[in-house]
């Protein structure tokens, strides 16, 4: 938690104090602030929501959005669901793999991390990807890397 002290995180979580129903939103808030949820934040959320750490940990591990380590500067989501399979996502995924990115492992290389996702809702223009939240239709390696270089530049 380099830039945030425990105190400032508790401050951010303030509106949810004592609310057991805010575990998910608290985790989302921390990840929005820090880019990931450090282990110590689980204790802070438990304390703030007045629930056990186990309950917070249970929610944290259920949802695939949450990270326990900081993300790369650029996060590329690549759709692996059916509509994109029908539009040639397997080819794209294998080309990305050849460039050193395993979307199933989500390894980081040159400030870029590529991850699998199940559907981005752009199913008529597949293969579909998202670069730091910006959607890319008819995705190719070229289109993806042109978007990532705009961020890393």
């Amino acid at each position: 938690m380099s830039n945030y002290s425990e105190e400032s995180i508790l401050n951010f979580l303030g509106p949810y104090k004592g609310e057991a129903s805010a575990i998910l939103r608290s985790l989302q808030l921390v990840q929005e602030l820090l880019g990931y949820v450090p282990d110590s934040a689980l204790d802070l959320i438990a304390k703030n929501s007045n629930v056990s750490r186990a309950e917070v940990y249970g929610v944290f591990t259920f949802y695939s959005d949450f990270r326990s380590t900081p993300p790369a500067k650029v996060v590329v989501k690549v759709c692996v669901a059916e509509a994109c399979q029908a539009s040639g996502s397997a080819q794209l995924i294998s080309e990305l793999h050849d460039k050193g990115y395993d979307i199933h492992k989500g390894n980081i290389k040159d400030d870029i991390q590529m991850e699998q996702t199940f559907c981005l809702g752009n199913c008529a223009l597949g293969p579909s990807a998202m670069v730091n939240g910006a959607p890319i239709g008819r995705a190719t390696c070229e289109r993806i890397f042109s978007a990532t270089s705009a961020v890393t530049a």
Binding site: E19, K77, C79, A86
Partner: protein
């Protein structure tokens, strides 16, 4: 001043719409052109995106697949006057594909500025809400019941009956929950409506609140939809400012509060009870039913849970009357359905039509066949849990019961097209794999069955003891179908069985498939 429309729908953004809008504004400023750029939703003809439209005295003229680089050329070719060009489509509303549709839920999408309440109202918005305010709650519910509107999320349960249950349940607090966790691959109608006409959803939810006596609404949107979340939040802020939401909706004395809640990457949270758990901040574990959420829902209170498309159909039903909505459709599938053409398709996007159009007409006539130009092998309707159908089902009418008759499921109305290069054993395996990945883990058939399913399919494909393993797979599918708590495990056998039945050769089957 010339109005130029550049969509801000995610699909248009994915093809460079923001860059196009920026290029137009830069060139207009540089050359002293009087241009106003409106960021509309998408018309749904996604293969034409970015589709730029220019307002002319004759109507809105469209230019297809515009790129930012093309802007100087298009402007000198007279784009602002709607002059002809290779990419010019003519008057957009006169395009055959739009003229042949019945746009009720999507009446305003692509036409208005999604965040202009003034335009929303001048295009027929809020009429349904005003009518509802003047009626008794029971009358509003009756109107929805009489319209024949059924849940568009997949199950097809009559909306009016659900509302009536909540109306007749006494409670100090009731909720309206909109399920916008549109996780099915091949579906994107919810997203397009939320991005292109969010006030329709907001109005539908307020009407639902008035009808059943609920004062709080929540929209559960998946995190994969950042643009939809952004538009909804802006629209809700505008609605609050204009007293459309708040302590007295349009001065009626009815109270209605609305909030967006964001999911966190879990498919099963699209199942209504898992969604309730997630809204309560917990793991998205499916609840056993009964009790149904209409009686014991969010925080144990009576709750209406409807899909985006269901709630968005409500304003028009209240504005034009149940009878008007009833006139569309076939049998017990009344009204219109927003079909989504996806996957390997030439002309992909959404088309809103009365129920009853055939599958073949949708895929071939409207969709134009595959994008790859190869023959179609199969389509999957209704998302990852929907059945695969072959071209022999081309004559089936699109409706809840008619699709069920051929072993299919309408689901959310998404159709994913595959060409002849697809291997159906891989698709069947993926269905099981997906279920294993996304299962909440509460019930055994789904949690363990999905993993065993992957293994059995692998053995069949490897040619190991095929007769025995086919029997085992069939047995497993039966247990998952009958024994799972929700549709996740319960419907996963649908794509598996249909793939195996239609394309046994892809599994390398050398014995007879029962």
């Amino acid at each position: 001043m010339t109005k130029v429309f550049v969509p801000m729908d995610s699909a248009a953004l994915s093809m460079g719409a923001n860059e196009v809008a920026q290029a137009i504004s830069e060139h207009a400023a540089k050359n002293g052109l009087d241009v106003t750029i409106v960021r509309n939703g998408s018309r749904g003809m996604l293969w034409l995106e970015p589709l730029v439209e220019v307002e002319t005295p004759a109507g809105r003229v469209g230019y297809a697949n515009v790129s930012a680089d093309q802007i100087p050329e298009l402007l000198s070719a007279g784009l602002l006057n709607g002059d002809s060009h290779d990419s010019c489509l003519g008057i957009v509303e006169e395009l055959e594909i739009l003229r042949n549709q019945t746009r009720i839920t999507f009446a305003r999408v692509g036409i208005i500025d999604p965040l202009s309440l003034v335009e929303y109202e001048s295009h027929g918005g809020l009429k349904g809400l005003r009518n509802a305010i003047a009626m008794s709650p029971a009358q509003v519910v009756a109107e929805v019941t009489d319209s024949g509107l059924r849940g568009r999320g997949g199950a097809g349960f009559p909306a009016g009956i659900k509302w009536n249950t909540v109306l007749n349940t006494e409670s100090d607090q009731k909720y309206i929950c909109c399920n916008a966790d549109e996780g099915d691959s091949g579906t994107f109608a919810d997203r397009m409506l939320m991005e292109g006409d969010p006030f329709t959803l907001i109005e539908g939810m307020i009407i639902a609140g008035i009808a059943v006596g609920a004062t709080e609404g929540l929209i559960y949107v998946r995190s994969e939809y950042p643009h939809a979340i952004d538009v909804l939040n802006q629209a809700i802020a505008i609605a609050n400012e204009n007293k459309l939401l708040g302590d007295s909706v349009l001065g009626s004395g009815f109270k209605f509060k609305l909030e967006v809640r964001v999911g966190a990457g879990s498919y099963v949270c699209g199942e209504e009870t898992a969604m309730l758990e997630s809204l309560e901040g917990k793991r998205g574990m499916v609840r056993a039913k009964p009790p149904i959420p209409a009686l014991v829902g969010l925080f144990g209170k009576p709750t209406v849970i409807n899909n985006v498309m269901t709630l968005a159909a409500v304003p028009m039903i209240l504005a034009d009357g149940a009878a008007s909505y009833q006139t569309f459709g076939v049998d017990r599938s009344r009204g219109t359905q927003v079909f989504q053409l996806a996957g390997n398709i030439l002309r992909g996007g959404i088309v809103e039509l009365p129920f009853g159009i055939t599958l073949g007409e949708l895929v071939d006539t409207i969709g134009g066949g595959t994008y790859s130009g190869r023959p179609i092998k199969t389509v999957q309707i209704g998302g990852p849990l929907g059945a695969y159908l072959g071209t022999e089902s081309w004559d089936v009418q699109m409706g809840y019961e008619s699709l069920a008759e051929v072993g299919g499921m309408l689901g959310h109305g998404g159709i994913v097209v595959f060409d002849d290069t697809v291997n159906m054993a891989k698709q069947a395996r993926f269905a099981m794999e997906f279920c294993a990945e996304e299962s909440c883990g509460k019930c055994t058939p789904c949690r363990i069955g999905s993993t065993r399913g992957v293994e059995v399919i692998d053995r069949i494909v490897a040619g190991e003891d095929q007769a025995k393993n086919l029997e085992l797979l069939e047995d497993l599918c039966e247990v998952m179908t009958d024994g799972s708590l929700c549709a996740m495990g319960g419907l996963t056998p649908l794509p598996v069985r249909s793939a195996l039945k239609l394309f046994p050769a892809d599994f390398g089957i050398k014995v007879e498939v029962k």
